[in-house]
Amino acid sequence: MYHTLFDFLTHTEGATYILIGVLLISFIPFWKFLTEREREE
């Protein structure tokens, strides 16, 4: 458990940075998948 807000934030914000990095990168294959047929024509 976290005794201080500082410890809590260190953990959660650190994990969130990594999460959003993954989410951001995965948007690219998602977009490519979505618009594949458009680009074929």
């Binding site: 260190t10 650190g14 940075y17």
Partner: protein, 390 residues
Amino acid sequence: MSVDTADSGRNGVFTPFNLISGAILLGGAIILTIRFTTGLASTTNLSDTNPWGLWIGFDVMAGVALAAGGFVISSAVFLFGMKEYQSVVRPALLTGFLGYSLVVIGLLADLGRPWRLPYPFIKQAGPTSPLFEVSLCVALYLTVLFIETTPAIFEWLGLKWWRRLVAQLTIVLTIFGLILSTMHQSTLGAMFMVTPTKLHPLWYSPHIPVQFFISAIAAGISMIIVEGWFSHRVFHHQVQISDDQFHDINFGLAKGGAVVLVTYLAVKVVALSLENEWRLLATGWGAWYLVELIGFVVAPCILFAVAYRERRLGLARMAAAMTVLGVILNRFNATFIAFNWQVPHEMRYVPAWTEVWVTVSLITFAVVVFRWIANRMPIMYEHPDYPALH
């Protein structure tokens, strides 16, 4: 198109520009040598009470805002389809890249242990810190800007395959750049949220991140006008667009500047209202706040609007210069003027002449490099072998 280097002439290397800039850079190098061999105390007026001074206030805070033109114009052209601004994309991106490089160099001068700059990423991270977010975004954005500058380099070197590869990345880089810029421009303002007792209430606001972001857009637009003012004359032999097109671009930017500044004004007034700070306007600090707001936000906003309506280039340029000065003033206020406003007079911070000289050296360095690149690479014009990007 053959391009003569602007300093090949009768005087050869010893043109007035080269001599003056050389002297400035030499002085800067000497001062920085002293700084790195004897510590910050010898070349700055920084103190325990004032840990941040001109190098943070200008090189970092103002520098990042003034380099915002890159993301503004590339988003306008590539994401919002405003193709009429295509010809200023490269100068703006180059200004941005050099600006952010300046920020990093300025930071290296200011940090106590600059060789530890990568520590947040390679040694130990402090993810709760707004400065962590800023450093991460600036590092990534500097990379983005560099890649966005390479098409001109590849064209200059004739590397067609590389040029085509990078061109395909334009949209992804522009989107990523806009994400990063939104974040770090705002977060630079957010860095002051932790000091409610030290930053004067007229400048302190929970909305300061939004205020910094919007003013950065205004600064970016204005810097494109200011940079174009000089570049258009100095590189006139390269320019391919007609005078009419150049004027249209400036007036379009003026229109944008007017809208952004009036938005910024509204956001600042809302902040006053939310904290019920009207009475503070009647104080000495209030007067200083009004100087910044009226003289450097309202005035250029009106000038931009009139310049656009009446097609007066001179007014647009004046408004742009005032906006640039206003953003610099705002960042100075946040960093060391309105910051520590309650500290006794004798302990307030004033920049040392050595700090000023180093800052001027960095600006000079950026101008020199800009000039060197623009004289050799297709920045002010389109290389005939390559179609326009997108």
